[in-house]
Amino acid sequence: MKFKISEIPKYLINLFLILWIGFTVFMFLWLIISSFKSTREIYMGVWALPKTFGFDNYIRVLTDFGLLRFMLNSVIVVTISTLLVLVLSAPIAYSLSKLRFPGSSFVSMSFIIGIGIPIQTIFIPLYIMISKISLTDSLVGLTILYTVTSLPFTIYLLMGFFKTIPSTLEDAARIDGATATQSFIRIMLPMARSGIISAGIFVFVMLWKEFLLALVFISTESYSTISLGLYSLITKLTYTGDWGGLFAGVVLVILPSIIFYSILARKFIAGLTVGIGKG
């Protein structure tokens, strides 16, 4: 690789990028290393390696804490919500973006504005509503909420994807006498598949991290999600000054997300790239 002066911007920015990534990686490494330290060690030598790589912190956190249960709850709620959202969003995104009907721009606009609706604005009335059908503190209720609140953004995303698909194939299908549903299922879906997958992963990640709704609607441990679990772990361990345990707990919660995400990421990026790449 020759060094070209004209490429200086590239070298500089690459350097910046490396620092950025280095920082990210370093931070997580530090977190992991610190989780093996005792509280005193954490504050004494930020950079020092722990004296012993004991798993004490981890054992302490795991025995006192129902991590597995929270993980399971999160998996159930988030997976089902994501699937529901996709199933509900795709057809309507198609209708709004390709089948211009009277009022379609009004409907799309209201969904787009819906993206900006903060949960704080609506969750008191929502709570009263949900409790009237006795679905508070239940995974079912949370799933409904997750699904509905994810609709605006997902519809918006999918509308964007559908718009990039040329109509020529549809026209051909129409001439051939296909019904709208057939045309949708046989033609649109496969072509937008990568977009739908990407949207699905976006939604999944967002819901996984979600904590406000869970905080308000779930009150017992057996139905808590992982983000709720993390939050209570943090408050709990802070009060006993167990910072080593806190770090261990955070690592335990974060690691699965990262690993899980790493596996999916390939597909995700590939999907997005392919979907948009289809000029």
Binding site: D64, I124, S219, T220, E221, T235, K236, Y239, G241, W243
Partner: protein
Amino acid sequence: MFKKSNLLLSITLMVGLLLLSSTMVMANESFTYWSMWEKGEPQQKVLEQAIKDFEEQFDVTVNVNWAGRDVVTALKPRFLSGENIDMTDQSGEELYGGLVAGGVAATMNDVLEMSVPNEDATVGDVLIPESYDAYVREDGSLYIIPYNFITSVFWYDKVLFNDLGIEAPETWDEFLEMSEILKDNNIDPVAFGIQTDVYRGYFPYHAAERILGKNALNNAASDPTGEAFEDPRWERVGDILYQFSKEGKDLLMQGYESSVYPAPQMDWVMGMAGTFYCGTWIPVETREAAGENFEYGAFKFPTFEDADGDPTAVETYPIGFSVLKDAENADLAKKFVAFFLQEKYAKQWVEVTKNMTPRAGVEAPAELADAKKLLDNANSTFRLYDGVQADQPEWYASVFLPLASEVLLGEINGEEYAEKMRTETIKFWENKNN
């Protein structure tokens, strides 16, 4: 054949009916308790044991939800939807500021008259009055029965003070002397983090308690004319605060302008600062980090000459139960309250959680011995922030805290502090009463 199956059927029916009716009889009483503690915390363990014992002794069920610190917040939507929750617990400040202010708490005065199960005394007999008397309203109503007792003091390391030949100060002048010695030895006198509001409010309100006395701050906060702040003693309060700042006598630790929990206590416990003003939960939180060569000692906020406040007074910060107004099972819940105040649980509490108990006659944990002595010797007590955070939360957040910042950063001096408190209070009330 026919007859046999008939017989079988009727026998089954009868047995079934018997079982059914017996379960209906067995369906016992219960009450619902939402707790501020989280599963796994030492406090939760003690309560859980008590709950089990209670269930056994009285053959009832307790539906407990370990909701965590935000329990009062979590309760709100539930009230709105009409769910029945009988009892909760939190600090006096949060209970009064939230539930009582919201009109949903029931009075607990009757609990004082109740006898403690398995013992010969009433609740009122066994509780230290200082643990709740600050919370008795003008009309005599009380909305909390405490089971945990916290106060706040200046903490220091006895080992360190011994080495440097310092005695725990009583008066402000002694406090300043102590600070000089610490500084000479390259130790910051007071650990502090201004960005954490819990700490920020401590010194201003304590100064007010010493100089003007109890309720002065609270009354001044609710005076829309601001006249209360024209009292010249407020300038003295401001002066004291200014002395803490880096523009004054520079008593606060380096970097306090940007320090956030848990930095101040960590810095203190690692020897970078000499004293730390905080609640009696500190030994528990810092024990691990303190290392072995550390002995917890405490002294109260310094006293001043020619001051109108009670020099022996200390802060009272009880944590206790509160039963809700429309609770369906209020009586059973209150019974549990009395039950939990038995001596054995108080002792367990002290042992397991290392906190003090409001039960008379039970010793405090070793680290809190000094604090307990201060409490015993106090002639009066005052509420945290003089009750301002609970009674006037918005004033507290938009007038009191920002001005506390300004003076503790040395941006304004004592005179300006008093003046600004006056003008900002007037402005605040004008806006509110628009």
